[in-house]
């Protein structure tokens, strides 16, 4: 004998969702079959949950364009962290040259920083193909500037604002570009610019930044030791310190880094890859259970 409370007849082997009522006369609860023919008619040929269709008759709610919806992606080839800091003569960013394929360290020669124009550099974490797409967009902007032929090009802040809008709008369409970007460069009024944009459009600027794991590993070091008027060797030493901290803690990072910098009066440069000295013979690392008997 079926449960009287749920009077909808459920054919054996087919799941029909319980039909709730928002009708004030009936009140919240299940609408039994036969009570409201109009209601029943909606579900006559029903095969599954009724999606709330948009005005165009198909697609999902709030869809910008009708038709197939691209879902939130999973990233494939990813880069880990990018660190950035301002110093007296300019601004520098650093990252490793690894492109991971899941947990496999697959592409070891990836340049994760690019020069955008004579005053701006950009680094990325996250999906490589999405960053290639972002570079395509930035190339289009550069070509437009070139064709205008008035000697002006986009400032780092303009590029940063543009990328904020791009990332946020993609996130609104539920199709984000899976990147965290660090935009660095020099403004025309003689100041440095350093900003980050995330994949959901979150953005901020600061004197020192990191995207990805570096936020947890490197930024505390920066907060302690960074000053805006560091000289280039000091800044580089601090950067290498931070990179060492990152590579020794982050499992998806490798000990091969590049540093890109933009200095006042000079063109942006991306350095040759280099390694930092790492030390793996800490006592507690070699013998972690020495002071904790019973662990392995």
């Amino acid at each position: 004998r079926r449960d009287v409370h749920n009077a909808t007849r459920v054919p054996f082997g087919v799941m029909i969702p319980v039909r709730v009522s928002h009708n004030q006369s009936i009140g919240p609860g299940v609408v039994p079959a036969g009570v409201d023919p109009a209601y029943d008619a909606q579900y006559a040929n029903h095969k599954g949950p009724v999606a709330h269709v948009g005005a165009n008759g198909f697609g999902r709610p709030f869809s910008v364009a009708p038709g197939p919806i691209t879902h939130t992606q999973t990233p494939y080839v990813t880069g880990t962290t990018v660190l950035g800091m301002k110093y007296k003569d300019g601004v520098m960013i650093a990252c490793d040259t690894l492109g991971s394929y899941g947990s496999t360290k697959r592409y070891k020669n990836l340049q994760r920083m690019r020069v955008v124009n004579a005053k701006t550099i950009i680094g990325f974490t996250g999906e490589l193909s999405d960053f290639d797409y972002i570079m395509t967009l930035l190339d289009e902007l550069n070509t437009n500037d070139y064709c205008e032929d008035d000697g002006k090009e986009l400032s780092p802040k303009e590029i940063y604002s543009y990328l904020c809008r791009v990332m946020y709008n993609r996130r609104n369409k539920f199709d984000p570009l899976w990147n965290s970007l660090v935009v660095a460069g020099l403004m025309k009024d003689g100041t440095q610019f350093l900003g980050t944009v995330g994949m959901i459009g979150q953005h901020y600027t600061d004197s020192h930044l990191a995207a990805g794991f570096g936020n947890h590993m490197a930024r505390p070091l920066f907060r302690e030791k960074h000053t805006d008027d560091m000289s280039e060797p000091e800044a580089r030493a601090l950067m290498e310190d931070a990179l060492r901290a990152c590579v020794m803690r982050d499992k998806s990072m490798m000990n091969k880094f590049q540093i890109a910098k933009v200095e006042f009066g000079k063109a942006p440069t991306v350095s040759e890859p280099f390694a930092v000295a790492t030390s793996w013979d800490y006592e507690k690392f070699k013998n972690p259970s020495e002071f904790a008997p019973g662990t392995w």
Binding site: T136, E140, T143, Y146, C147, D149
Partner: protein, 181 residues
């Protein structure tokens, strides 16, 4: 795009519209095929575009001709002449605008096959000054080129080269005047 450039004559807004369309064509080709648009294809598309305006009574033909300089892998450097009728022809040397007959005659005297870009700039400046009609009106000579020296990109000729060429052109003009007198 960087590998193509244009100079127009006639109604300036019409010339600007042609340039704008060419830029769109380049951008669209790049975003679709991932490569810079070849010279022939760009010329073809521009010719079709200009011809379009001669087909329908609701629009008027462009009041501007233009010279298009393109570099691509197959043809190297190419010069195309676009006319409001939709004609598009590749030339070794061409002239458009007011003094074009005289200019064309001057160009035909040149041995274009053996001219370097720098020499060509000097000849072009000389021809422009020689064929310019109102001799008392000051005008500015703008030169741009696309050649190996510019890295295969359409750029303004560097200032010192322009100044040199214009000086030589003015000197040639004065010496002509002296000879006539």
């Amino acid at each position: 795009d960087r590998h193509a450039g244009m100079a127009g004559t006639g109604l300036a807004p019409d010339a600007r519209q042609i340039v704008s369309r060419a830029r769109s064509e380049c951008a669209q080709y790049l975003s679709f095929y991932g490569d810079r648009i070849p010279a022939q294809i760009l010329a073809d598309r521009m010719a079709h575009y200009m011809h379009l305006f001669t087909l329908y009574w609701s629009v008027r033909p462009f009041g501007a001709s233009s010279l298009m300089a393109v570099k691509d892998e197959h043809d190297g450097y190419a010069l195309y002449l676009l006319e409001p009728s939709g004609e598009c022809q590749r030339y070794h040397g061409a002239a458009i605008g007011k003094g074009r007959q005289a200019a064309k005659n001057e160009i035909e005297k040149l041995d274009l096959g053996n001219l370097s870009a720098a020499e060509a700039v000097r000849h072009v400046a000389r021809i422009v000054y020689a064929t310019h009609d109102e001799k008392d009106k000051e005008f500015e000579c703008e030169l741009s080129w696309i050649c190996d020296a510019s890295g295969g990109e359409f750029k303004r000729v560097p200032k010192h080269v322009v100044d040199e060429a214009v000086e030589a052109a003015k000197a040639a003009l004065e010496s002509d005047d002296e000879m006539d007198a």
